[in-house]
Amino acid sequence: MIEVRNLTKRYGATTAVDGLDFRVEPGRVTGFLGPNGAGKSTTLRMVLGLDRPTAGEALVHGRPYAELEAPLRQVGALLDAHAVHGGRTARGHLRWLAASNGLPRRRIEEVLEQVGLGAAADRRIKGFSLGMRQRLGVAAALLGDPPVLLLDEPVNGLDPEGIRWIRTLLRGLAAEGRAVLVSSHLMAEMALTADHLVVVGRGRLLADLTTDGFLARHGRSRVRVRAVDPVKLADLLRGSGTAAEPVEGSGGAWEVFGTTSEEIGALAARHGVALYELSVQQDSLEEAFMRMTADAVEYRAVAA
């Protein structure tokens, strides 16, 4: 488990990470979500003891990462798939990692098979595609069979097949009881992968809740309705006092806010309006996120 407490990083006058608090619990995929430059990578580097926090702390199993003995057995991390020496082979890269933590050599073969690089194990990394490098990075993270995994933007630049592979892998690792933290700026991807979301913007914590809870709270839902007689429907909605907007170019459909499909259905039945269409429209995670970060920016502008 990872615990981040009041974690702060300043570079001169710039605050990259601003008093973050969150936990990464075992048995689920936690999405670490935020636009580019929100401080996600800096946070992960501080968790791994690579960057020193200006204030606060990040603990792994209750201890700072730097105090862990054989840390690769505790935490597997993929920070940057390009941070490998192209002159080494995939097996050579994993060999020094294994040696550094006294991991058995058979783990090298196991993870190479697990990520599907068995056939490319003795090829130099400089000839690898981005997808292969990502797979090698995942292999390195899994090498010590750690209960905690940290992956920074693992689907960046992957093809759809690679993205699906990562998603299935991460869900599988969480199902085995591991704590998985995945950073991403791709909301749609996180909606499919993560059980829990930690959302940051400009280094600040914006939300820390389940993916469903995030949508329920920040995603606006609305009821879309279309009737046989559009004029009658328009009169009905105007008379009901609910907030409603016609949908452009939809043949007379309306979107009604702050109500439920049951209420609209009952209202239409009472007034004898026959409906063609009645459905609940949910914001996507992406729309919810955009609205939320827009609010955060506004808040900051007002506060300043």
């Binding site: 003891g49 730097a66 490998v84 002159g87 990692l97």
Partner: protein, 245 residues
Amino acid sequence: MTTSLALRAEWAKFTTLRSQWITPLIAVLLTAGITAAVQAAYGEVDRSLRDDPAEGIYYGMLFGHVAVVASGILLIGQEYASDTVRASLAAVPRRGRFYAGKLMLGTGIGLVVGLLSVAGAHLATSATVGLDLGQPGAVRSIVAGVLYHPLLLVLCLGLTAMLRNLTAAIGLLTPAVFLGTTFLTAVPGVREAAYFLPDRAGLYATRYLTDPAVPYGHWTGLLVMALWAAAAAWGGLLSLQRNDA
């Protein structure tokens, strides 16, 4: 226990990357090969190679140095160039331990290169112009010649750790080590100070004869070089501990 793991990781890095292990090999070949060629061609006729036998024996080392310096730079500079330093520090988060692994490997490589280079240079001399190890200074010259290599390698490793940049290290260290001394020696006034530069002090320890202009003894020369290497190694550690990776 875990420092030995850090050393094993460094050894694995060294053996899995061709540029890492080929550079020390080149150092040995250059030192022994050029000494052999020069002794065979000019050893009998050129008095400057004979008056102090060390001049002839270590002639090739002036070229072998290049590869020793490069080896020290590459050992840690490649980590910065490829960004693997982050993976290294995630695997061995105690920076002193990581750095100790580098220094131990660097010292070991330097000793092996020193032993092979000095042995090769002496064999080449013995096979061409002949060698008298009973001469005063001969044994000291061998010991100093061997130790010169790990000291130079650690010096460059430490300075590269301070710079944290492979390109900067190559750009600054190579000319500093090979031209700096020559250049400074030519400038009146700083000439005395130039005697205390690491390569100059270390090389003096390998000479059979005493140079009255040098303000210290042979062994002191090696000590001067060792102090430089220790200072660079210490500076590298501070840089590693103070900076974000």
